[in-house]
Symmetry: C2
């Protein structure tokens, strides 16, 4: 995988990079929409592509359970199956087992769990996680890791980190074996819970595996914002700077700006699309809940000047009508807006780094965004 | 309203006509997708327009209750509010009160009913029905009528028919008064339940009002298919042939072909979009239920050769995945296909009438369609 640092901010760790992947080149910072079951929810892949997105995320846990690896392999891979011609990053399934499975047991061998769909038992090993993602023909594959929640003891955190490291090494071995079948790129994941010594140790270990990229897992899992910021900045200090840095499962515009400032290159989150389905839409002045009574006669777009399809064709009053009447059109139109907003935000961020004024951009954006409404 | 008969079939009453409406010209036969709350469900109006549709239907009952006439008036009318630049026909609200309201009482004045949304009481008079539709700036307005179910006595049917006639005359009076505000076209509705003498009497009365168009109501309301065919053909015999004929709330490909053969020019139905949301899709070989196990590894489009967006981009296997995982994308993609199928079917019908071979087309289409699967 070709990775080039294009530009570094002089006042922070913010940077611009280029990653050459099997399905095209991606410039960073980049935000990845999430396509859990093979579809970014409520929006056609062509519309996602038309906005400019070139990298989306798929969830191995969901795709493994439904439709299953054999179906996706027979389809010719996940790109073919889902009609998405650009890059796909898949997670390993570990985080979804942590957050969704009704039962899970960590064994040295792998994660033993029950499906949240039909209660069936499964074992996800590091080797299987890699084989599944190779079967998907994922452009970026993630190593199997054990995510932990805030509040555990250091002893528990060490145990989870160490198994994450052993699994990462096993993932690397399996990936080396599979490389002649498919040229996807494996990223390792830093864990260590909320213990700085462990975060440092984990970053150093994952660096040492010399994989194409490095991710940070186990942040934005319920901790205080101050802990998030502290542990993010601290962990970023120890990441190999010649590798792409991926912060998993983040997040809001606030968290995204924080992450990019610390030198994160890539991130993904369901936030933009999930809140859209509930009627919450981004504006530069904060979040608006489209169901609110006051929008009933607001015959203006969600945000004046927004170039998204929704804002070019529909008013807040119409959006409110769609959400009040439970029409599928509500989630559809709000999803378009929120994904376009995120795309535009990241484009603005890229430009600000090119112009070496990211820190000013961040301050100005947040000052306006956080003083507005928060109608999530 | 300019209405021209373009071509008549020599072997049946099937015909081609042209209707000039305020938002453009419509050639018939025409099928109208239904946009109950201001949106054809699960599809953007632009996509509906891109398929070629130029006339859709809105439901006055729903729009009156939510968002209310004042909101739509303030928006500049229903076209403006819903971002649909072409023609809109609105029903009067009578049928929805008949089928949805938890309580309704027919009075000479109008229909007294409770909202299915919040239980509030309302009175829909013929005058209000016209005023609402003028406020929407509907291209075609429907008179308020009283729909009845099969199985009532002749006495009850006479009573409902007569009130329908008095209401139609009041609608006409109100429409004449409103015409300087908005140049929409009022259609009268033939009722008479399943009594031929009443159907004849009703057709003759509605003809006598000399409105721009004539609709048939109260068919396809639960009667046997043989009764539907019999009463449709019988009623059509008495419609003024120099007016457009609109059959309300029909229907399936089988019923549509039947109706066009009897000289119906326009019809609407939720069938195509409703079954789509449940995963049932049209093919020339019948209906397919996309959730079925056998589609899991069918990497072919819903129908080979179909020009719809869904068939050009996605496989049956992907559709199945979307429906099995409950993704909004399932209803979105199936709606696109079914509306394109209906559009193409009507285009084929138009061509067959132009070529004076409609009856052969009908026979061939039905022979293949009805011998296939019926997985609704």
């Amino acid at each position: 995988m070709e990775f080039t640092i294009l530009k570094k901010s002089t006042r922070s760790k913010a940077r611009r990079t280029r990653i050459v992947l099997p399905h095209g080149t991606v410039e960073t910072p980049v935000y990845m929409p999430v396509g859990t079951n093979g579809s970014v929810k409520a929006i056609k892949h062509q519309d996602v592509s038309d906005m400019g997105y070139r990298l989306i995320l798929g969830n191995t846990y969901h795709l493994y359970l439904r439709p299953g690896i054999e179906v996706i392999k027979q389809a010719g891979g996940l790109h073919q199956f889902t009609s998405w011609p650009h890059n796909i990053l898949t997670d390993s399934g570990g985080f979804q087992i942590f957050s969704l499975a009704p039962f899970r047991k960590i064994k040295e061998e792998g994660m033993y769990f029950r499906s949240h769909i039909d209660g069936s038992y499964h074992m996800l090993t590091p080797e299987l996680a890699v084989q599944l993602q190779c079967g998907f023909r994922s452009d970026i594959l993630m190593a199997l890791d054990q995510c932990t929640a805030p509040g555990i003891t250091e002893k528990e955190a060490v145990k989870a980190m160490e198994i994450t490291h052993r699994w990462a090494a096993r993932c690397k071995d399996e990936w080396m074996k599979c490389r002649d079948q498919w040229g996807g790129n494996l990223f390792g994941i830093v864990q260590g819970n909320f213990f700085k010594n462990l975060r440092k140790e984990s970053a150093q270990f994952i660096n040492s595996l010399d994989l194409p990229g490095i991710a940070i897992g186990g942040l934005s899992v319920g901790e205080e914002p101050s802990a998030f910021k502290d542990f993010l900045a601290y962990t970023c200090e120890y990441l190999d700077e010649n590798k792409p840095h991926y912060l998993m499962g983040v997040g809001t515009p606030e968290y995204i700006l924080e992450a990019f400032e610390d030198g994160i290159d890539m991130l993904d989150c369901v936030y933009a699309t999930r809140i859209a389905r509930n009627g919450a839409v981004f504006t530069h002045d904060g979040l608006l809940a489209m169901k609110k009574e006051r929008f009933a006669t607001e015959f203006i777009p969600i945000e004046e000047g927004c170039n998204c399809y929704t804002c070019r064709h529909y008013t807040r009053a119409f959006l409110r009508q769609m959400f009040k009447t439970g029409e599928i059109m509500g989630p559809m139109l709000a999803t378009i807006h929120n994904l376009q907003f995120m795309y535009n935000l990241v484009e603005d961020i890229k430009k600000s780094i090119d112009d070496d004024c990211f820190e000013t951009f961040k301050k100005d954006f947040l000052s306006r965004y956080t003083s507005g409404s928060r109608e999530e």
